[in-house]
Each structure stands twice: as C-alpha cells, then as structure tokens.
C-alpha cells in the first residue's frame, strides 16, 4: 500500500488530479465528506489530507511514503527526505518586504518578523546582516505598520496583500513551488511504485509546460 500525504486545499486537489491521471484514482475522495483518509484497495493506494505545513513531517517519519510540500516548508524544516520532482504548481516567491519609505541603511540591528525563522536567519546570515527575528504565526503584514518590525520575510504570490498594507517587495530571496517528496526508507522498499507514479507525474508536468 502506497501512502500519500496531500496538502489540504486547492493545491492538494490539483495534485490529486495528477495522481488520478497517473493511474491511481480513489473516487471516494471526491465525495463531500469530513473524512480525511481515502483508500483504493485495488490500486493499493491510500490518500490523506493533512495541513500543508505538516506534509513533510508525515513523510519524514514514514507515516506517508510520499507527499507534496511547498519548497518553503522544506527549507524551513529541512526534513531528511528525497525531493524527487518540482511540480511547478503553487508558484510564488519568498521575499523581504517592508514599508515603501523604509530603507535599510545597516546602522542598527534589523528587526525581521516572519513565520519562516530558519529561512530568514539563513538568508541574512548569507549576507552577513545582523538581525533580530520576531516569530509570528499570521498577519505578518501588520508587523512593520505597527512598528513591531522593520521588514517581514514572507511568501508573496501576487503582491496584492502587500500593496493593500502599503508594503512593497524589497528583495526576492528565492522562488517557491510544490515538490514531490519521498521517505528515504520507503523509497528503498516501495521504489517500484514510487518511480512509476513519479514518471507519470513528471510527464504531466512537462506536458503542462
């Protein structure tokens, strides 16, 4: 049985469609229920919906053999997994944003509010800038407005939220997209089926290009 962790939400639904097209359907998943686990005995596959930021944990710990997680989550938590494919979905970027009139003159410690403390720390470490990290769990955009921080490090999709809060992108850190990941041990013992899924999804990604 191949266990697949899918991120709840629109991205997960798109990814499921790819698995379905790859020959691993599970029709019951489309029924409107509150169930989280769906199994297709015949195809030997089991899907489950989990919080997007938890997918990598399920895969690293082997509760799921494969799963789909954003590159942001993989860089933040650095799970020990194989990253087999860039799905080219859920594309956005990790960026530094701040008030339009803010300029970092490097005179004092930069206050950075973010959900992604590891990514922010690694980025500023790579450019040798001294920072104070403020870990927030949501509504990051208001931190610079209220003076809690100078800038934020966050995911930017269209930039609308930033604009509405009078913020702008100062620097792009890196592009983000959804990745197919696999547990290292599962890859040894269920390699055949994982490679089969991988190949089909890879073809679908190429076709969409």
């Amino acid at each position: 049985m191949l266990n697949v962790a899918l991120p709840k939400g629109r991205l997960g639904e798109k990814v499921y469609a790819m698995f379905e097209a790859a020959g691993y359907p599970c029709p019951s998943i489309k029924e409107n229920t509150r169930k989280l686990i769906f199994e297709n005995e015949e195809k030997q596959v089991r899907y489950f919906w989990v919080k997007p930021s938890d997918v990598s944990i399920y895969v690293e710990r082997g509760a799921a053999d494969i799963g789909v997680a954003g590159k942001d989550i993989l860089l933040e938590y650095e799970p020990d997994v194989y990253e087999l494919l860039d799905l080219d979905l859920g594309k956005c970027r990790m960026a530094v944003a701040g008030p339009k009139n803010f300029y970092d003159d490097g005179e004092k410690t930069l206050k950075v509010a973010t959900k992604f403390t590891n990514i922010a720390a690694n980025y500023y470490n790579s450019i040798g800038r001294d920072i104070d990290i403020i870990k927030l769990n949501g509504s990051i955009e208001i931190a610079p407005i209220l003076g809690l921080s100078d800038v934020i490090v966050d995911i930017v999709e269209t930039g609308t939220t930033l604009k509405e809060n009078d913020l702008e992108v100062k620097t792009d850190i890196l592009p983000i997209s959804a990745r197919l990941i696999a547990n290292k041990s599962s890859f040894k013992f269920k390699g055949e089926i994982i490679e089969c899924v991988l190949k089909s999804i890879e073809e679908q990604v190429k076709k969409d290009d």
Binding site: Y82, D86, S185, F189
Partner: protein, 358 residues
C-alpha cells in the same frame, strides 16, 4: 536459559551481533561512559550535534558523556604497519534528539577496523553490515556509494567550493530540478549538467549502475567499486546490496566507500558507516579506517504482534490465606507455562486472560 520470545528486538540484536562479529575476529571493546571534553571540541564537525553533556571530574577536568564511540576508539588505537585493530562495541551514547531538542540516550552497536586496511577489510565491513541487518529483519537494503567517484564527477563539472557543497546537498536529496538550476546559475554547460543529472539518477542494481557509470566518468575508484561488487556477488544477500550515490556522509571525514542500511518498517536509516581515512588524518594518524554503527534504539519501531493482555493468570488471594499454599499455587501455574500475577485485589491497569481465586 532466556526464552527468545521475551527479548525485545534490540536485545535480541545485541546477542546475535556479538556472536557474528566475534566469528570474524573482532574483539569486544568496552569503554568508559566518559571522555575528556577536549576530544570532541577538536573534532566537533564529526559529531551529529555539537551539544554535549559535560561535567567537572573530581580533579577539575572537564569531561563529557560520550556523544560518539568512534573518536574514542581511534584515540586509543595505534598505527603499526601491516597491522589492523578490529573491534566491536555495544554502547550508549548521549545526543540531542532532533525532534524533542532534549538529550537522549541512544543504544549503538558497531565495529571499527583501524590500521593498514585494504579492499578486503572494506569488503568484510560491508559484508558484516549486511549480515547484521539480516539478523534483525528479512526485509532490508544496504546502499553503497563511493565518495571518490562523487568527487571526480563534481570536479569535472565545477571546482568551486560553494557549487560543490550545494550540489552535494541536492544529490543527497535526489533533487535533480534544483541541481539543474544550480548548474544554470554557475553557467555550466548543458552537456556537463546532463552528465551530472544522469549520475545522480543512476542507482539500484549494481551491475546496471556499473555499466552506466563507465559511460559517465573516468575514475580509479570505479575499479574499486567493481572489485567490491564482484566480491559481494558471491555472498549471501547479494541482491539486497545496491549502489546509490545519494549516500553522502560528511566528505571532510569520510572518503572512499560509504554505506547506509535500511529496514522495512523503520522510517530512517538504521546503519551508517564507511571509510574514514580523512578523520584519521585530521587526528594526525597515518592509518586508514572503516567501520559502521547500528542505531539499535530505532528497532523499537519494528512492529510486533500486539498482546491483548499482560499476564495469563491473575491470582487473587486474601490476607488470611496461607502463603505457603499461595507460593505452591503460583509455582504450579508457572510450571504449566503460564505467567502469573499474585494480587490481593484486581489492579486497575493490569490486563489478564483469566482470574483465579486461591
């Protein structure tokens, strides 16, 4: 005589491994739980984590609870031309757990061969690694890589240190997409990029890998890999040994062969090892070395049939009962092959198959 069914997976493994290693002339190595802290500070990159439990000894010396066994074995070995020291151990080490961020006691078993080593010793270590895994479970895989080949491939693509360190990370993740982007950033030709991608996509059955490898790069190390593979093909479980160049142990310590073992049902590698001549050199030693460690605490994850009860018989007696009679009854039941818990009342948390009153 200990009944086998009562032993936990890790306890069973300890006995079986000890007998296996002794057969090949590896001697038991018993060490103290403590080591001078200085040893670890000098080689802290070799350790999984640099956080170590320290304390002052009675003479004021700063000591550490061992986070690692290999460094101590190296420290206490000697360089003698033509000689090899072969030892095995079964020790607890103290490391910070990745998940809880607290210190954890980890049971490790393993072996080290230090001295004038050659390909035979490496073969022997790999063979013992495979046999060790086979003693624990039928479903296992040992993957082998050769860092000499990886270095040769990377040097051919780009010698930049930053490139190589990032490339190695992507190789360990089998991440071809980010590796391709990295090559693009470093303006590496498409031909070389494709070669590198083919290299990391080459894994699995040994003969297949060797065939493809010969088209991808030229390196002395390939010959070593071929010889090792030929030697292994005559051994038991040969089909469970694969080549996979995503096994990347720290290259400043390891060189040559590295390997990793997996058991079905355990989410991470349970065995890790390789040739560590670089570490020996860093410790100002002339000898070579090869060894591996098995993380026995992970064996807890192997599923065992669930028991529906804790004891077969719950034997209830009263304060006024004759204790000699009670002892006799307990003995009687045990002699029938049953497990017995003698109690005055029914304990809240004890699950029993059958309740008997004296």
């Amino acid at each position: 005589m200990i009944e086998e069914q009562i032993l936990k997976s890790e306890e069973k493994a300890v006995f079986a491994l000890r007998s296996l290693y002794k057969k090949y002339g590896y001697l038991p190595y018993k060490m103290s739980k403590f080591e001078e802290y200085e040893l670890y500070i000098r080689n802290k990159d070799f350790l999984v984590s640099d956080r170590i439990i320290t304390f002052n000894d009675t003479n004021g010396k700063l000591m550490a609870l061992k986070p690692d066994v290999t460094l101590s074995i190296i420290k206490n070995s000697e360089d003698k031309k033509g000689e090899k020291q072969k030892v095995f151990y079964n020790e607890n080490v103290y490391r910070v757990s990745k998940s809880t961020k607290n210190y954890k006691e980890i049971m490790q078993a393993g072996l080290e061969c230090i001295g004038d080593i050659d390909l035979y010793d490496i073969f022997e270590a790999v063979k013992l690694a495979v046999n060790s895994l086979s003693l624990i479970s039928d479903e296992f895989v040992l993957e082998i890589s050769h860092l000499g080949i990886l270095s040769a491939v990377l040097d051919d693509v780009c010698k930049d240190k930053l490139f190589q360190s990032q490339a190695i990370e992507f190789i360990s993740q089998k991440n071809t997409h980010d590796l391709a982007r990295l090559c693009e950033n470093f303006e590496i030709s498409t031909q070389k990029t494709d070669k590198l991608i083919s290299f990391i996509s080459t894994y699995g059955e040994r003969e297949e890998v060797l065939k493809k490898l010969n088209c991808l790069c030229k390196s002395e190390s390939i010959k070593e890999l071929e010889t090792l593979s030929a030697m292994l093909s005559k051994c038991e479980f040969s089909d469970k040994i694969i080549f996979d160049f995503s096994v990347v142990n720290d290259m400043s310590y390891y060189n040559g062969f590295v390997f990793k073992g997996f058991l079905s049902g355990i989410c991470e590698g349970v065995l890790s090892g390789g040739q560590y001549d670089n570490l020996m050199q860093k410790m100002d030693r002339k000898s070579g070395a090869v060894g591996f460690a098995l993380y026995l605490d992970l064996l807890e994850q192997l599923s065992k049939p669930k028991k529906d009860y804790d004891v077969d018989v719950l034997l209830i007696y009263k304060d006024s009962d004759d204790k000699q009679k009670l002892a006799q009854k307990v003995n009687e039941l045990i002699n029938q092959g049953l497990s017995v818990s003698a109690q005055k009342s029914v304990p809240e948390k004890l699950r029993y198959k059958q309740k008997v009153e004296l």
